[in-house]
C-alpha cells in the first residue's frame, strides 16, 4: 500500500493540472463538441483580442503582479537583513505570522475598509485634521492604476514570504556570518545581504514563483480591490466563463491561454531581474563599500512591515465592528450604536455556505493528511525524498495560473458527468490543500529523531506500532498544525470552488467575494468576519488538542 503513496500523490497533483490545461487548450482553438465546436480555428483568440480595453487588462495583470511581488520581496529581504536574530525581529515575527492564515478575500475587504475615502483611516483624521465632512470623491479602492490592488497583494504576501525565508535560514551558524562582516566594518543589512541572503533566496525561489503566479492571475483580490474599467484580465475571463451565453467560453479559454503567457512572461521577467540584481550586488560588494550607517534604513524596513501588518489587523477589526454597527455616519470614528440586527438577518442564509465550507474543508484536509502521512512514511522506508523534481511537482498547482487549468477542468468534469458534485469540489480542493499540508509537515517529520524508531524496533514494535504509538503522538502537534494550514487553504479557495462547483456550491468565500466592494458594509463585515474566524478556529483547535491530550506531559503539550 505505502509503496504506491508517492505516485498516487503526484498523480492527484499532476493529472488535474495536465488534463485541465489540455481541456483549456482545445476550446481555445475552437474545439469543444459539446458546445458545437467541432473544428479547429484561431477565432476564439481573434474574438478575445477584439474585446475593448483588452490590452489594458493584460498589461495590468502583468504589471500589478510583478510589481507587488517585487515590493513584497524587497520588504521581506530588507526586514530580515535589518533585524534577523534580534528581539525586535521575534516580536514582529509573532505579530505577522498569524496573518498568513487570513483568507485573501477577508484581508482585501479589511484593507479596503481601512483605506477607502469613507474608510477607517479617513474617519480617524476627519474632520479635525482634514476638514472633510463628507468622504472625498476619490477612487482609492478600485483605482484605475491598480495601486490599491498592488498594496493589498503586498500586505497579504509579506507574511508568506517572511515565513518561507525564515524556514530557509540555517538556525545557529547564521548570525556568525553576519557578525564576521560586522567586525569587518560592514553595516548589518549589507552584511546580511552579502552572506546569508543569497542561499536563502535560492531556497525560496519556488514560493516566490508561486506568489508571482497568484499575483498575476488572482481573481478574488482583484474583484475587491482591483481596477474596474476595465477589470484585470483574470476577472474578465471568469466573467466570460460564467456567462449564460455559452459560446463566450471559447473566448474565455483563449484568454486563459493568454493568461498563462502573461504569468510566464512575468516569471521570465523575474528571472531577468534576478540576473541584473545579482550582477549589481556582486559589483557593489567588490568595491568594499561598507554601508555602515544603515540605522535609518533599518527603521524604514521594520516600519513598513509593521505598517503592512497593522493595515490587515486594523482592517479585520474594522470588519468586525461593521458587522455589528448600528448607525455609523461618515466622520464618526466609531458607530453611534451597536446592533446585532444584521447578524440575525444574515444568519439564516449563512448556515448553508458555512456547512459547505466546513464539509469541503474537513474532508479535503483529512484526505490530504492521509496521503501526506503515507508519502512521508514511505519516504522514511526508502530514504528517498524525491529531491527537487518531487518538490517541483508539489508546487505545480501553485505555479500554473489557476484559471489556466480550472477552465479546462470545469469543462472536463462537466462532460464526464462529475461536474458540480461534492466529489469534484472536494477533489479540486485536495489539489491545492495537499501541497501546503506536505510542505508544513515534511520539515518536522524529517527532523524527527530516528533513534526513537530504532528503540521502538529494537523493543520489538512493528512498523505500524512504531507509527501509531511513537511517531504519531509525538508529531501530533505538527500534524494538527499542518491540517490547520490545509483547512485555512481550503476555506480561502475562491476560483476552484466557483468553477468546479459550477456556481452550485456556495461557500463562505464565494459568497464573500460575490458581495463585491460596492455591497452592504454590514453584510460584508459579517461574511468576512466568519471567513477569517474559520482558519483561526482551526489553529486554536490544533493548539488545544495536544495541550489537553498531553496536559500531564510537559515536553510535548506545547504552550
Amino acid at each position: 500500500m505505502l509503496k504506491y503513496a508517492p505516485a498516487f500523490a503526484l498523480g492527484i497533483l499532476a493529472i488535474p493540472v495536465v488534463s485541465g490545461l489540455a481541456g483549456t487548450l482545445l476550446p481555445a482553438f475552437g474545439y469543444l463538441p459539446a458546445l458545437g465546436g467541432t473544428s479547429f480555428s484561431v477565432q476564439p483568440f481573434l474574438d478575445f483580442f477584439y474585446q475593448p480595453g483588452i490590452s489594458q487588462s493584460i498589461t495590468q495583470a502583468f504589471l500589478i503582479g510583478l510589481i507587488a511581488t517585487i515590493i513584497a520581496l524587497v520588504l521581506v529581504a530588507a526586514f530580515l537583513a535589518a533585524w534577523y536574530g534580534t528581539r525586535t525581529f521575534r516580536a514582529v515575527q509573532h505579530f505577522v505570522s498569524p496573518l498568513l492564515a487570513v483568507p485573501h478575500a477577508a484581508a482585501a475587504f479589511g484593507f479596503a475598509f481601512m483605506i477607502a475615502p469613507s474608510g477607517f483611516l479617513a474617519r480617524l483624521f476627519s474632520p479635525w485634521l482634514t476638514g472633510w465632512e463628507r468622504p472625498l470623491d476619490l477612487l482609492i479602492v478600485n483605482d484605475r492604476l491598480g495601486l490599491a490592488l498592488i498594496v493589498g497583494l503586498v500586505v497579504k504576501e509579506v507574511p508568506f514570504l517572511l515565513l518561507v525565508s525564515m524556514a530557509a535560514l540555517p538556525q545557529t551558524q547564521a548570525l556568525k556570518a553576519v557578525q564576521v562582516t560586522q567586525a569587518l566594518g560592514y553595516g548589518r543589512m549589507a552584511g546580511f545581504l552579502a552572506t546569508l541572503w543569497p542561499p536563502v533566496y535560492r531556497q525560496i525561489r519556488l514560493p516566490i514563483f508561486a506568489v508571482i503566479a497568484y499575483a498575476t492571475a488572482n481573481v478574488d483580490m482583484s474583484i475587491i480591490l482591483g481596477p474596474s474599467t476595465p477589470e484585470t484580465l483574470p476577472v474578465r475571463l471568469v466573467g466570460w466563463m460564467n456567462d449564460p451565453e455559452l459560446s463566450l467560453r471559447f473566448m474565455a479559454c483563449a484568454g486563459a491561454i493568454v493568461q498563462i503567457a502573461v504569468t510566464m512572461a512575468a516569471l521570465c521577467c523575474w528571472l531577468a531581474l534576478e540576473q541584473i540584481a545579482g550582477a549589481i550586488a556582486r559589483r557593489i560588494f567588490k568595491t568594499g563599500v561598507r554601508f555602515s550607517r544603515d540605522s535609518w534604513l533599518r527603521i524604514i524596513a521594520s516600519g513598513s512591515i509593521i505598517t503592512s501588518a497593522l493595515l490587515i489587523f486594523g482592517g479585520l477589526i474594522v470588519l468586525a465592528i461593521w458587522s455589528v454597527a448600528g448607525l455609523w455616519q461618515f466622520p464618526d470614528a466609531l458607530p453611534k450604536s451597536l446592533s446585532f440586527r444584521s447578524w440575525s438577518q444574515t444568519l439564516p442564509s449563512l448556515i448553508e455556505p458555512l456547512l459547505t465550507t466546513l464539509v469541503v474543508g474537513l474532508v479535503s484536509v483529512l484526505i490530504s493528511i492521509a496521503i501526506v502521512l503515507a508519502c512521508l512514511a514511505r519516504e522514511q522506508q526508502t530514504g528517498n525524498t524525491g529531491g527537487n523534481k518531487a518538490l517541483l511537482l508539489l508546487y505545480l498547482p501553485l505555479l500554473v495560473p489557476q484559471i489556466g487549468f480550472l477552465f479546462g477542468l470545469q469543462l472536463l468534469t462537466l462532460s464526464v458527468g462529475v461536474g458540480a458534485s461534492w466529489f469534484a469540489v472536494i477533489f479540486v480542493h485536495v489539489v491545492f490543500v495537499l501541497p501546503y499540508v506536505f510542505l508544513s509537515l515534511s520539515a518536522p517529520w524529517r527532523s524527527f529523531d530516528k533513534r526513537y524508531d530504532a528503540i521502538g524496533a529494537a523493543l520489538g514494535a512493528s512498523q505500524a506500532r512504531i507509527f501509531w504509538r511513537i511517531r504519531f503522538p509525538m508529531l501530533l502537534r505538527a500534524i494538527l498544525a499542518a491540517m490547520a494550514v490545509g483547512f485555512a487553504v481550503s476555506v480561502g479557495q475562491y476560483l476552484p470552488t466557483l468553477l468546479i462547483g459550477a456556481g452550485r456550491f456556495a461557500t463562505i468565500t464565494t459568497e464573500t467575494v460575490a458581495l463585491g466592494s460596492g455591497g452592504n458594509r454590514r453584510i460584508i463585515g459579517i461574511y468576512s468576519f466568519v471567513q477569517m474566524m474559520l482558519p483561526l478556529l482551526g489553529f486554536i483547535f490544533a493548539a488545544l488538542v495536544p495541550a489537553l491530550l498531553f496536559s500531564k506531559r510537559r515536553a510535548i503539550r506545547g504552550a
Binding site: 530514504g383 529523531d449 530516528k450 533513534r451 526513537y452 530504532a454 528503540i455 524496533a457 529494537a458 523493543l459 520489538g460 514494535a461 512493528s462 504509538r469 511513537i470 503522538p473 509525538m474 501530533l476 498531553f550 500531564k552 506531559r553 510537559r554 515536553a555 510535548i556
Partner: protein, 220 residues
Amino acid sequence: MCAASTVLKIENVRIALAGHDLLHVDAAIKPGEVLTVMGPSGSGKSTLLAFIGGFLDPVFSASGRIFCSGNDITFERPQARRAGLLFQDPLLFPHMSVGANLLFAMPPKIKPQVKRRQEAEASLASVGLEGYFDRDPDTLSGGQKARVALARVLISQPAFLLLDEPFSKLDADRRDQMRRLVFDQAKQIGLPVLLVTHDRADAEAAGGTIIEVGITRNGQ
C-alpha cells in the same frame, strides 16, 4: 531467534563509506562481558551498532556476520534481533508516563495487566526509582531519565546490549554511578554488552576487551 545468556559473535565485520573502509571488528562477547570499541567521532563506531541492531543507513556498506548464540541474525528484521539499545540521550517517549514507557517495552507474553504493572514497578525499584510509575518523564532529572531508559531496555528482555556513549551526557558523579549500575545489571542477567565510546574512563570502567578504531584516519 536469540535466547537469554547468549554469546554475541561479531564475525569479520567491515564497514565502509563510499568504498572507504571505516573499521574492522572480529570478536565474540560472552554473557556478562563487555567489549568496548573506542574511537573518535566519524570512525564508524556508531555505525557498527546500527549494523548489529539492523538500522544501517543505506549510505554505508557492511560485510561480515552477526551471530547470537550461534544463530545468524545478520539479515534479521530489527524487531526480531532483541537488541537492547541505549543512546547518549535517554530518548524516553515524551507522550507516555514513566510506567507506560516500561509497559511499551515489556514483552506481551507477560500478563495480565496487574502482573505487568507489578513487574514495571519492580523494575523501577531496581534502578532506585520506586514510586515513579505515573511520573511525566520530562519532570525527571538527567540521571533519573538515564535510569528509566536502562529499566526500559532491561524489561524488554534483550539478548544483548548495544551502548552508544550512554554516559557522555551525565555529569561526573552520576556518570560513575550509572556505569556501575549498567555493567552490574548486565553481569547479573548475563548479557553480552557492546559499548562504543570515545571516553577512556568508560572503557576502563567496563573492564573488558578494548578495540581501538579510526586511529589511522585521525593520527596521520
